[in-house]
């Protein structure tokens, strides 16, 4: 009978260290209070029916002590847990993309090269994997206990989160947000393979059209190219090489072009208008499925140079202009 989950990601040990500290803290204070209560209850038990105990004076010092010490402990916990949280929520730039669609009651996953899988996720060990997730219907949640990874997938927006697996093996995948009748069946497996095995796996199996090329087709079908025509005087801003860049908006603000910004620009273009362009883009809210939106976003991403994937031994920053086709 297992009592503790596997540690199979880079941040699992950090989460577990925090957990263990909290377990010890809980055990310590519970035992302290429990012991004091039992000892006092026995030592000061009522011996005569009508006895009335003497006065015990209040102590401001004691009150201060047991206010300040818990406060300090909680502040230490806050700082530590926030540090762990930052590690979890900041994906490295050089991450391998996988696109996930959740719908009642299954997970559809697609690797950037087009390899598709259902309710299973194959990833290489030692490589950062960034999941961009969308829901077709209700809120789901992608949960891999062994990685200490969880992210709610809310319809109407993209959810982006990352992990890096550290041990080959097979690990549970659960949907962790109640989503209807077969919520407990929306489960699967995450397979962590050695890099060689992963490459072999990647080129086999059902190779659907890559998301980017499906997105390219949609781009034309929805007449996006009539305004985003990539020529001088075009009615819409250029989409070449914008991913990851800073975009200037009307009103002087700026925004970093990421998946969420691209999705928003399709369904609610008036929210952030690019400087120097008229606000004429129609909204595609409700007209394109979540999967279609993932494809379009993947397509626009493919128009920008991908950050170089680090070699397994030591990560090196990509030289400017260098373009390693690691994820296409």
């Amino acid at each position: 009978m297992p009592l503790f989950p596997d540690q199979a990601s880079t941040f699992a040990p950090h989460v577990d260290a925090l957990y263990l500290f909290l377990v010890c803290l809980t055990a310590f204070f519970s035992l302290l209070i429990g012991t004091l209560v039992v000892v006092f209850a026995i030592k000061y038990r009522r011996r005569a029916e009508n006895e009335v105990p003497d006065l015990v004076h209040e102590s401001g010092l004691l009150e201060m002590t047991w206010t300040v010490i818990p406060f300090l402990i909680t502040m230490v916990l806050f700082v530590w847990s926030s540090w762990v949280y930052f590690r979890i929520t900041r994906p490295p730039r050089e991450a391998m993309d996988v696109y996930v669609t959740g719908k009642q009651w299954m997970w559809k996953l697609q690797h950037a090269n087009g390899r598709m899988e259902m309710n299973e996720l194959h990833v290489p060990v030692g490589r950062a994997v960034r999941l961009t997730m969308a829901s077709e219907d209700v809120i789901h949640s992608f949960y891999i206990p062994a990685f200490r990874f969880k992210r709610d997938v809310v319809p109407g927006r993209f959810a982006t989160a990352w992990f890096e697996a550290t041990r080959p093996g097979r690990y549970h995948l659960f949907c962790a947000q109640y989503c209807g009748t077969r919520h407990s069946n929306m489960i699967g497996w995450v397979h962590v393979l050695t890099p060689a095995d992963y490459q072999a796996w990647l080129s086999g199996g059902v190779l659907g059209e890559s998301l980017a090329s499906a997105g390219a087709k949609r781009f034309v079908e929805n007449a996006c190219n009539t305004c985003h025509a990539e020529k001088p005087g075009a009615r819409g801003p250029s989409l070449n090489a914008i991913f990851g860049k800073v975009q200037r908006l009307q009103g002087g603000q700026t925004v970093v072009v990421d998946e969420a910004y691209l999705r928003e620009s399709i369904v609610n273009p008036q929210a952030k208008l690019v400087e120097g362009y008229p606000s004429i883009m129609p909204t595609y809210q409700g007209l394109i499925s979540e999967e279609g939106l993932l494809q379009l976003v993947a397509y626009v991403k493919s128009l920008s140079p991908a950050p170089a994937a680090p070699p397994v031994a030591a990560p090196a920053p990509p030289a400017p202009g260098e373009r390693k086709a690691a994820t296409k």
């Binding site: 925090l18 809980t26 000061y44 009522r46 011996r47 949280y85 209807g180």
Partner: protein, 544 residues
């Protein structure tokens, strides 16, 4: 104000609030806060039983890994109903509407609450709301979880969402009116000499609770109305297909539902304060700090709702703010635990049942509260959110905390309420059975949660079975533990020994009047001259 000699007053006067008038009409149209408390006692016991039956069914299904006892559809309705019944129709009203209603006027030396007819209206709203929810249950129930997350609840669910929402809405209105009644009563109807600094801590706790009831409940009321409107009229407020935001629903829902958990625990803490001092005949250590902590909890409780949404996609900075505030809200509770423990020091500790429940509360609430720190920790919450760890955490507080407080209070004041003594031996046995059964039920769930077992799961991987079996075994013991008091409380009404006015030798105005009290509580309005919990100054009672 106190009598050091137990039972100085004559027993059971000829006329009191129970026998002053007979007949169903005299109960259903009563405006006596004590009778309304009894009406609530019947109501909350009824809905607790329903919620308990569904808990039993859930635990039975979870004995085995596959979902083989119920269809998924059915199971989803089981846990939803368990949650709805327990949260809205038991936990929120139980202590305030039963014990609070009965005791607050007596503890402050008043004849009744400020608005007796509104008190009765509160009961009717509660019962009608509960019966409406019951109607929905009988006709198939709801399957959204008690949290009603959108768009599942507004677009996809095929259960009786709107009807159930109406039932909860009415219960919420009842809660608002009760809070309003308590607030005004405590402000304006204290007897002469009953200053704020002399108020029993039970009253302070309910004052803080009333603030939360008044400010928080309207928000869930409007949220339920919007959910109903979206479902019935296809408005797009939370539906992403029309541009709506499901996370907005979560913000609005948790803005109430987090403070709601403090509506559930603060009254229990008030009970514990009374039990600990009454059963050890010592003033509460740190009276001002406990009173102040109650207010601090009420205020801080409104600032932490985002900790239910750490993985929903709110910004990192929002997460940090809610995390630090969630850590801070734990501190006043810790202060209370230390002060209760210190109260026992050099006291005269009785082992009678109310004290057993109080001691159990202190231990279990400590564990439950400390596991809250796990959840306030951002990095850790990501892993345990929506797992059995959360379920274990809130059951430790709600069942190990509030229900133990409720039972302890019920035993403590039973002589006053009924004029009878419950059988002490049986009561101690059931307190132990409940304590042991509870721990066996919920402690394994902490382990299950960290292993990764998600909540609301009908079927689960085989390696989780042993812990689930332990939990179900505990639940059966716990269920038996709850049934024993039900039996002997009824038994005591007919066969119990007659209770004196002050069986515990405690301080407090409620003990200065006969058991059961006359309808007007005090023949002459008391005048308060002594500090609270003053066991040492010997003086004649203020009331003859």
């Amino acid at each position: 104000m106190s009598s050091a000699v137990v039972g100085a007053l004559p027993v059971e006067p000829r006329q009191h609030y129970l026998n002053v008038r007979y007949g169903v009409g005299s109960w259903l149209l009563t405006v006596d806060h004590k009778r309304i408390a009894i009406l609530y006692l019947i109501g909350v016991t009824f809905f607790f039983a329903i919620g308990g039956v569904f808990a039993a069914l859930i635990r039975m299904e979870l004995l085995t890994p596959p979902g083989d006892l119920f269809l998924s559809e059915t199971y989803n309705r089981l846990f939803t109903t368990h949650g709805v019944m327990m949260v809205f129709f038991f936990m929120i009203p139980a202590i305030p509407s039963v014990l609070g209603n009965f005791l607050i006027p007596m503890m402050i030396g008043a004849k009744d609450l400020a608005f007796p007819r509104i008190n009765l209206l509160s009961w009717y709203l509660y019962m009608i709301g509960g019966l409406i929810a019951l109607w929905a249950l009988i006709h198939g129930g709801v399957d959204t979880g008690w949290t009603f997350y959108t768009p599942y609840s507004t677009v996809y669910s095929n259960g009786w969402v709107v009807v159930t929402a109406v039932g909860i809405f009415l219960a919420g209105f009842s809660s608002i009116l009760t809070g309003l009644n308590f607030l005004v009563t405590i402000h304006t109807m204290r007897a002469p000499g009953m200053t704020w600094r002399r108020l029993p801590l039970f009253v302070w706790a309910h004052y803080a609770t009333s603030i939360i009831q008044l400010l928080g409940t309207p928000v869930i009321a409007i949220t339920l109305l919007l959910v109903g409107a979206e479902r019935l009229f296809h408005l797009g407020i939370f539906d992403p297909r029309q541009g709506g935001d499901p996370v907005l629903f979560q913000h609005l829902f948790w803005f109430y539902s987090h403070p709601a958990v403090y509506i559930m625990i603060l009254p229990a803490m008030g009970v514990i304060s009374e039990l600990v001092t009454g059963m050890s005949r010592k003033p509460v250590f740190g009276y001002k700090f406990i009173a102040g902590s109650s207010l601090a909890i009420a205020v801080l409780s409104f600032l932490v709702w985002g900790h239910h949404m750490f993985v929903s996609g709110q910004s990192v900075y929002a997460g940090l703010v809610f995390s630090i505030l969630s850590f801070l809200v734990a501190i006043p509770s810790a202060i209370k635990v230390f002060n209760w423990t210190a109260t026992l020091y050099k006291g005269s500790v009785s082992y009678q049942t109310p004290m057993l429940y109080a001691l159990g509360f202190i231990g279990l609430f400590t564990i439950g509260g400390l596991t809250g720190l796990f959840l306030a920790s951002l990095g850790l919450d990501i892993h345990v959110h929506d797992t059995y760890f959360i379920i274990a955490h809130f059951h430790y507080i709600m069942v190990g905390g509030t229900i133990m407080g409720y039972l302890g209070g019920l035993h403590y004041w039973w002589p006053k309420i009924s004029g009878k003594l419950y059988p002490e031996a049986w009561a101690r046995v059931s307190a132990w059975v409940i304590f042991l059964g509870f721990n066996l039920t919920f402690f394994p769930q902490f382990i299950l949660g960290y292993l990764g077992m998600p909540r609301r799961y009908h079927a689960y991987p085989a390696e989780f079975q042993v812990l689930n079996v332990m939990s179900t075994a505990g639940a059966s013991i716990l269920g038996i533990g709850y049934m024993i008091p039900l039996v002997y409380f009824f038994w005591s009404m007919r066969y119990g020994k007659t209770a004196p006015a002050n069986p515990w030798g405690a301080t407090g105005l409620e003990w200065q009047t006969p058991s059961p009290p006359p309808t007007e509580n005090f023949p002459v309005t008391p005048v308060v001259t002594r500090e609270p919990y003053d066991y040492l100054t010997k003086e004649e009672p203020a009331v003859g």
